[in-house]
């Protein structure tokens, strides 16, 4: 056992023992050696009445008991300020245990009872001269915690006195007190800054960290005060406690970014040029990568990320990866930072991408972050592995993860254009899944992939990428030429589990994918996905040359419209809008086909009486658009009411432009290239007509 301490304690304990004996004599109550805190904690509220009496008793034990009851009441959020006068009397109690509880009480209640708190200030001032550093620090903490502006000058004096205290523990409390005084009243800024200069000169690593923190809080722009201390702070860094290291590093990073020249990257004539003070900071900070505290590791990584010359940047990857295995919670936070670094410097983590593989017992947030990180690390070399991983994640039990995984497959296709056929095969396999989420997400991604393919028929051309990926794009394109042969060989032997003979054969041709989607329209139930399929069918449902049942329209297209028309009333607005678009496009392609025109009329009529403004508007607009191109679209004689009015208006030669068929075709079918780009950025489908 601790020798010295035990001596001191046993001496006190004899006193305590005596007290206990007295108590037994006085109250003939049993002394239980178990602490029995639970009974105090859960006591009934009516017992609280005795507290004042207990506090005024002469026995320390009674007082202690009362204070514990009070703390229990605080803990339960009961009002306790009425006991304030009785508690304040015990501030100067010689019993340390009691005194600590009184301090806790005062720290909580002083702000609500400033007048009464003033009563105890004298005692605290006396305590500031106590021989024990613990008492001095506590007194200062309570004093600065009272937050009553009227006593600010007294507190300031106390802080100034403590800043020169021989004990670093008290000086640490002084630095924290500076922050508190500043927050209560900013008028004392000059005085506080004066105290700060004393504190910054501190030699003890115990209080140095807090001093820097205080400076950062009260005068963040006064980095010039650190000029004389910079090198000393760097060298003291390993000895400061973990929390201090985080604060000091943050401030020093800011100092370096403001005050020192940026490292000059190496060129032919000379090597890297790094300022020697910056070198010193990095050299002193680097061992801290081996700190157990994750916050410190991150602080060092941050310093390297912002300050280090590019040749030293690779040092951050291993320590950051280590954070992933610390705990679930730390992993969750670290991933957010890793994602940022992975996006800006994918090279750092490309070799260790398997550290980011998703586990089924990860939290949903963690899974989604990991997918994003994996995507950021996708290259020509590892896209096969990643594709297989994402296909596994598509089986996840969290819907949002499934969505992310399937969208990630789409991203692979656009990041590594040569992998598009493989991604299409994977997605086509998912269309046959029994899970709604998989199907609808796969359709959404297929839509943009197919559209992309139709726009850029040759797979060698690169798609433009949104800005965050541009650095990666450069990396990808640079490595593409050398690797193309290996890809084409691996394509033929693609070991994909979803592969079915049917889908491999069709995967290459985007139009046949649309045909397949069209045939599966009944199974695609998610509104977004349905809308997607309808749009695709309308946009790409035209054929030229080959003989089809309806001239100019692919064989699979009209039936989709029939099915959509049948279920029109039960669909979501999004789907209704796309049904209208589909109808308009099809009759434009085959303006003379009687059945199609009838179907379209039916749909437009339903839409006219729809609840949704947008649906009614869209129907009205499309109809007027088609007036010149398709005869009979405005409804014929069998319609009554409004229809007749319209006809009359039309016959009356109403004003406005009537477009020819070619013009309408242009309006409806062309200029759709923008969709994909927007979609990639926003991650949401953008629908047009």
């Amino acid at each position: 056992m601790d020798g010295i301490n035990l001596n001191a304690l046993s001496e006190n304990a004899t006193r305590l023992g005596m007290r206990i004996q007295e108590t037994i004599a006085e109250h003939t109550r049993d002394l239980s050696l178990t602490r029995g805190g639970s009974s105090l904690f859960d006591m009934a509220d009516d017992k609280a009445k005795n507290i004042t009496k207990q506090l005024e008793s002469s026995s320390d034990r009674e007082k202690l008991d009362a204070m514990k009851r009070l703390i229990a009441l605080i803990s339960k959020n009961r009002p306790v300020s009425s006991y304030f006068p009785a508690v304040v009397k015990n501030v100067a109690s010689p019993n340390l245990e009691l005194r600590k509880l009184v301090y806790i009480y005062l720290l909580r209640c002083a702000p609500s009872e400033p007048d009464l708190a003033l009563l105890s200030i004298n005692t605290f001032q006396r305590d500031l001269a106590d021989p024990s550093p613990l008492i001095r620090a506590m007194a200062l903490r309570v004093l600065s915690g009272i937050r009553v502006p009227t006593v600010a000058t007294i507190v300031l004096m106390a802080v100034r006195k403590s800043a020169a205290d021989p004990s670093p523990y008290v000086r640490k409390a002084a630095a924290l007190a500076v922050i508190k005084v500043y927050k209560v009243d900013q008028a004392h800024h000059p005085t506080l800054l004066d105290i700060m200069t004393t504190l910054l000169r501190d030699r003890s690593p115990l209080s140095l960290g807090t001093a820097v923190l205080a400076l950062d809080t009260i005068a963040p722009s006064r980095l010039d005060l650190l000029h004389v201390h910079f090198r000393r702070l760097c060298r003291a860094l390993p000895d400061i406690d973990a929390w201090g290291q985080v604060d000091v590093l943050r401030v020093l990073v800011r100092y370096v970014r403001t005050m020192l020249p940026k490292p000059v990257p190496a060129n032919e004539r000379q090597g890297e040029e790094v300022d020697k003070d910056l070198k010193l900071l990095l050299a002193c900070a680097e061992p801290l990568f081996m700190n157990k505290n994750p916050a410190v590791v991150l602080a060092v990584a941050r310093a390297f990320y912002y300050l280090a010359p590019s040749s030293m940047l690779s040092k951050i990857s291993a320590p950051l990866l280590r954070l992933l295995s610390v705990s679930r919670e730390v992993e969750r936070v670290a991933l957010a930072y890793l994602l940022v670094v992975a996006r800006s410097h994918p090279v750092l983590f490309i070799t260790s991408h398997n550290r980011f593989l998703v586990r089924v017992d990860d939290a949903e947030q963690v899974k989604r972050r990991k997918i994003s990180v994996l995507l950021a690390l996708c290259t020509v070399d590892n896209h096969q592995t990643l594709l297989r991983e994402f296909m596994d994640y598509a089986q996840d039990t969290d819907d949002s993860v499934v969505g992310d995984a399937i969208h990630a497959i789409g991203r692979i296709a656009s990041l590594v254009p040569s992998s598009t056929p493989q991604c299409l095969t994977a997605l086509m396999g998912m269309i046959n899944s029994k899970q709604d989420t998989i199907v609808s997400n796969a359709v959404l991604v297929l839509k943009s992939l197919v559209q992309n393919q139709l726009l850029t028929p040759s797979s060698t051309s690169t798609t433009t990428l949104p800005t965050p990926f541009s650095s990666q794009q450069a990396l990808l394109t640079s490595s593409i030429p050398s690797l193309t042969p290996s890809i084409s060989t691996s394509l033929s032997a693609a070991p994909l589990s979803f592969t079915s003979t049917e889908s491999t054969s069709v995967a290459q041709a985007p139009l046949s994918i649309i045909a397949q989607l069209a045939q599966r329209i009944d199974d695609i139930r998610h509104p977004h996905a349905r809308a997607c399929v309808l749009w695709l069918v309308g946009q790409y449902g035209s054929v030229t040359g080959t003989k089809t049942a309806v001239e100019g329209v692919a064989d699979w297209a009209p039936d989709v419209l029939r099915k959509a028309a049948r279920s029109f009333n039960t669909e979501a607005s999004l789907v209704k809008l796309q049904t209208l678009t589909l109808a308009a496009k099809l009759i434009l392609l085959a303006p003379t086909h009687r059945i199609l025109v009838l179907l379209a009329q039916y749909v437009f009529t339903l839409a006219r009486y729809d609840e949704d403004w947008d649906v009614r508007d869209r129907a009205r607009m499309l109809r007027t658009l088609l007036v010149g191109a398709v005869t009979g679209i405005m409804g014929s004689n069998d319609e009554e009411g409004i229809g007749e009015n319209w006809n009359k208006e039309e016959q009356a030669g109403r004003p406005g432009v009537v477009l020819r068929r070619e013009q309408v075709t242009r309006v409806l079918f062309e200029g759709k290239t923008g969709t994909i780009e927007e979609e990639l950025v926003a991650g949401e489908c953008v629908f047009e007509f």
């Binding site: 023992g17 600590k100 550093p133």
Partner: protein, 448 residues
Amino acid sequence: MAIDGLIILDPTGRPIIQSSYTTYPAAYPLLHIEALNNALAKAPREGSVDPVIYVGELSCSSACCHVEVGGMRFLATISGDVDPLIAFAFLDAFIEILQDYFGVVSVATLKDNFDIVYQLLEETLDSSGHPLTTSPNLLSDIVLSPSLISKLLASVSPATPGVPSVRQGGSFGSNGASGAFTSPIPWRKAGVRHNHNEILFDVVEEMRGIVGKNGTTLVSNVFGKIESNSKLSGTPDLTLTFTNPNVMTDCAFHPCVRLQKWTRDNALSFVPPEGRFILADYQYRPPQSALVSNVPIPLSLKANMDMGEFGGTFALTLTSRLIKVMENLELKFYLGEDATSAQCTLSSAGSSVGSVGSADGSWSFNSRTKMLQWEILNMRSSGSWILRGSWTSKIKAPRPAHAFQIHFEIPSYSFSSLKVDQLRLSSETYKMYKGVRMRSKGSIEWRW
């Protein structure tokens, strides 16, 4: 711009202990408690709650970072531009301190000692929101541990007659505090004396791996930890060397370890704190292979899954690839939130002599967490264990997890075969007892 405060919630979600939120509106802590409880109630499965929950209703947005310990939730609220890692590091440090003081951290121990918890909270977290003193050795001088108090009471009470004469000058308060802050080393208290000096090391290694559908290992890493329990007198300066330090990579050390010495000589030189502490964390780097992430997995699983409508059937065969006995093997399988029941039979094939085949395994299905669990207490090197069964589900196309989670323990074994060469003590003259133990565990995800 720091940690706003700390709240401890009991298993029902009610706060039992909270730090003072004096500068915040009264609703502030309540809002965070409610946000956490809502998130917990909504979570579809265990462990799927985001550890950082954003609370944006107030003028300044804030977040609560929470950790579960002994059924309770410890939550730290942060606001502004604060790194959540600081909150989690602080929570970890605080929980470690509680464990140091009370042994077990449970609702009962916290309620019994709530006054001590409040004192600890006051000492570890300043009201400005910055961590204060978190070294257990330093704290034990400031806040007395409950065991010490009761020990003193017990030892002193019979000696009543002599008490007045023993009494000396000096008040209780200043005496108790004079011992504090006299140590020159922040993590070790001064003047420690033991009759019996000993230091024990526990090397615990954990394998975390993922096996793909076709049985190939996608990733497997081994993370090690050296836990120490030190009971040494005075200021012992220790040097710990290993015969094969190269197996350790990406290390992290307790603040007491001299980092330069490690970088230079691969030796751990340190003055240990008193009591339990974690000396080092490391990752195992296999000597031959260039890949850090491919340590062989010591078991194999064959899974035949058959998904039908409203349920499915499965046949799982587990085989050990290790000569050592694996203990407390546990296979978990999430059957999806619509699963209703499961029915299984156990058998083992080719098991060694002297054991009853099916007796050393058991299975259970938890209808609340929807988790199917298969346990094997002792898994010997030869033979295989088979679990056949079926489950039912409310929905037509059931959605079970796409992987099994396997946890196991291997006593007196280490994946890295890390070996302690010697432990030298300088600066003190006594003889000490030294001990090293090895232990391993694993958590493998096996996809199907």
